[in-house]
C-alpha cells in the first residue's frame, strides 16, 4: 500500500504554547487510522494543520506525493481531503439536501454564465448532481429527511450529515473529528457501520477520537497524542497496553468531554 497522507514533523505554536510538537503520522491508501489522545492533546489542531486551517511553523504535510502545507483550505478539499467538524458546522438556514449539495461545490464545473443562461451543461450537471446527492443521502440513511431544515433535525443526524457533505466532494481521505461524541449507543453503532462502508468504497479514513473504544475494531493503526506529542503508535492493543498511554489518559481525568469544546 502506498502512502496517502504523511504528516512529517509538523509543529504548530500558539503564542508560547506548542499545540502540535513534531507530530509524525501516516495514512496509507485504503487504511482506517485512529488518532487518539486525552483532551487538549492537540488532536484537532493536527487535523486543522492537515486541512489548511493553520499553517504549520515547521514540518511538511504530504498528500498524494504533494506538499500541501500552507495551501488554502478549499484547495486542500479539491486535492481530495474531506472533513467533518467536532462542533457541527452545517449551514443552518438550508435544507439537508442543500447542505450535501454544498459538498459537491469543489467538483462543480459550472460557472456563473451557465447559471445565468441556464445552459444545457447546467441542466445536465444539475440532474447528475441531484442523483448523486440522493445516492449519498441514501448511503448515510438520511434520504427520507432530505427537505428538512437543519434546525429541525436531531444532533445525531447532523453529525452523520456532515459525513455525507464531505463525501459529496469525492475525497480520497476523510478526516472525522470526534464523530461519535454526543451520540447514543444505537447511533454510535450505526456510525461504525457507515464508516466501514465508506472505507469499503476505497476511501481512507483518519479518525480522531477521544473515546478509545470507538476506535477499537475500526482503526487498523492507532496514533496516540499527548501534549502535542506522539507518545505511541501501533495497533489498538499495542497502544492501550503502552504505559505512557495509560498514564496520559489517567493523568488528565478522561471523561471530561466538554473541556476541549
Amino acid at each position: 500500500m502506498s502512502s496517502l497522507l504523511k504528516v512529517d514533523k509538523a509543529v504548530k505554536r500558539f503564542g508560547g504554547i506548542t499545540a502540535v510538537d513534531g507530530v509524525e503520522l501516516e495514512v496509507k491508501e485504503g487504511q482506517v487510522v485512529g488518532l487518539i489522545g486525552p483532551n487538549g492533546s492537540g488532536k484537532t489542531t493536527v487535523l486543522n494543520v492537515i486541512t489548511g486551517v493553520y499553517k504549520p511553523e515547521e514540518g511538511k504535510i504530504i498528500f498524494n506525493g504533494e506538499e500541501i502545507q500552507g495551501m488554502a483550505p478549499h484547495t486542500i478539499v479539491e486535492k481530495g481531503i474531506g472533513r467533518t467538524f467536532q462542533n457541527i458546522r452545517l449551514i443552518n438556514s438550508q435544507t439537508v439536501f442543500d447542505n450535501v449539495w454544498l459538498g459537491h461545490h469543489v467538483n462543480s464545473k459550472l460557472n456563473i454564465f451557465d447559471i445565468i443562461l441556464k445552459t444545457r451543461r447546467e441542466k445536465e450537471e444539475l440532474k447528475q448532481v441531484r442523483e448523486e446527492i440522493e445516492e449519498v443521502l441514501d448511503f448515510i440513511g438520511l434520504l427520507s429527511i432530505k427537505d428538512e431544515y437543519i434546525g429541525n433535525i436531531p444532533y445525531g443526524q447532523k453529525k452523520i450529515l456532515e459525513i455525507g457533505r464531505a463525501l459529496m466532494a469525492k475525497p480520497k481521505l476523510l478526516l472525522l473529528d470526534e464523530p461519535a461524541a454526543g451520540l447514543n449507543n444505537t447511533e454510535s453503532r450505526e456510525l461504525v457501520q457507515i464508516v466501514k462502508k465508506i472505507n469499503q468504497k476505497g476511501i481512507s479514513i483518519l479518525l480522531i477520537e477521544h473515546e478509545m473504544e470507538f476506535v477499537q475494531g475500526l482503526a487498523e493503526r492507532v496514533y496516540v497524542l499527548d501534549h502535542g506529542k506522539k507518545i505511541a503508535e501501533g495497533t489498538f492493543a499495542e497502544c492501550t497496553n503502552n504505559p505512557l498511554v495509560i498514564e496520559a489518559y489517567l493523568g488528565t481525568g478522561r471523561g471530561d468531554k466538554n473541556a476541549e469544546n
Partner: protein, 296 residues
C-alpha cells in the same frame, strides 16, 4: 513654518481629534457591552449640540454650564430609554446582528431629519463663555476654548477610567465583551448593563456635541460628516479598546489638520479614509487589537 504655528496646528488637530475620540469611545463601549456597532453615534452627537443650542440660546437661555449639564441629563435619559425600548429587546431576541446594525442606520435617518425639521437647515452657533481673545504662546495663536476642551476631555477620561476600573458596573462593561457570563455572575443583568452603556454613550455624545460648538457650526448633516471619521478613528485604534479610541481619534484629528495645511484640504477626507483602509489591511483589528480567535 515656525514652531509656534506648528504647535497651533497640533492643538487644533487635538481638538478635532478629541471630538472623534469621544464618539469613538462611545461606539467602542456599546460594542463591548452588546456587540452592536452604533451607526447613529454621530447624529446623537449632533442632537446633543442642538439641545445645548436650545437650552442656552433658542429657548431657555440658561447659563453655559447649566445648559451643558441639562444636555447631558436629557441625552443620557434618552439613551437609557432607547436601549430599554429598542436595542436591548432586539439583542435579547438574538435578531440577526446586521439587522440591528441597520436599525442604528434607520435611527440616524430619523434623528437627522427630526433635527432638520425642528431646528431648520441653516448653520447655527451657541456662544461659549471662554471668550474669543486668543492666547499667544510664542507665535502660536490658541483659543481659550481649545484649552478648556482639552482639559474637559482629560478630566472625563480620568473619571471614565475610574468608573471602568473601580465600580462593579464599569468592570462588567469591560468584561462582558470577553465573557457575557461574567456580568451575571457579578449580579448585573445584561439588560441593565446594555442600558447603562447606552446611557453613558449618549452622555458622551452630548459632551462631544457641546464641545464641537466652538469648532464647527451646527448643521443637521454634521452627524454623518463627523461619524464617518469617528468610525475611522475607532477602527484605526481598535474596536472595543479604550486607548484605541483615544489614539485613533487623535491620529485622525491631527493628520486631518496637517494634511489640510501642508497638502490640500480638498482631499483631506479621502486621505483619512485611505489611511484607514490601508491600516486595516495591514492590521485588521486596528492598533490596539483585541484578539478574538475562533475555534474550529
Amino acid at each position: 513654518m515656525s514652531l509656534g504655528t506648528f504647535v497651533q496646528l497640533i492643538i487644533q488637530g487635538i481638538n478635532m481629534g478629541l471630538i472623534y475620540a469621544l464618539a469613538a469611545l462611545a461606539v467602542s463601549l456599546i460594542w463591548n457591552a452588546s456587540g452592536l456597532f452604533n451607526f447613529s453615534q454621530g447624529d446623537l452627537l449632533t442632537l446633543g449640540g442642538y439641545f445645548m443650542l436650545t437650552f442656552t440660546v433658542v429657548a431657555l437661555k440658561l447659563p453655559y454650564w447649566v445648559g451643558f449639564a441639562l444636555a447631558i441629563v436629557v441625552m443620557g435619559t434618552m439613551g437609557f430609554f432607547l436601549s430599554r425600548s429598542y436595542f436591548y429587546p432586539m439583542i435579547n431576541q438574538k435578531l440577526n446582528p446586521q439587522l440591528i446594525l441597520i436599525g442604528t442606520v434607520a435611527l440616524s435617518v430619523v434623528i437627522r431629519n427630526a433635527i432638520l425639521n425642528i431646528w431648520g437647515p441653516s448653520a447655527q452657533r451657541f456662544d461659549n463663555p471662554f471668550g474669543s481673545k486668543p492666547i499667544l504662546i510664542g507665535d502660536a495663536i490658541i483659543m481659550p476654548y481649545q484649552i478648556v476642551n482639552i482639559v474637559i476631555v482629560i478630566i472625563l477620561v480620568v473619571l471614565l477610567q475610574l468608573f471602568l476600573r473601580k465600580t462593579v458596573m464599569g468592570i462588567a462593561m469591560r468584561a462582558v465583551a470577553q465573557k457575557p457570563v461574567v456580568s451575571s455572575l457579578m449580579g448585573i443583568k445584561v439588560e441593565q448593563l446594555v442600558s447603562y452603556t447606552f446611557l453613558l454613550s449618549t452622555c458622551l455624545a452630548s459632551i462631544a456635541g457641546v464641545l464641537t460648538g466652538p469648532i464647527l457650526p451646527l448643521i443637521p448633516e454634521m452627524g454623518s460628516l463627523l461619524s464617518i471619521k469617528a468610525f475611522a478613528a475607532v477602527l484605526i485604534g481598535g474596536l472595543g479598546s479604550f486607548s484605541g479610541a483615544l489614539v485613533g481619534g487623535l491620529i485622525v484629528g491631527i493628520s486631518e489638520v496637517l494634511f489640510s495645511t501642508f497638502i490640500t484640504s480638498t482631499y483631506k477626507d479621502v486621505f483619512i479614509f485611505l489611511m484607514m483602509m490601508i491600516i486595516l489591511q495591514i492590521r485588521p483589528g486596528g492598533i490596539f487589537r483585541i484578539e478574538i480567535s475562533e475555534k474550529v
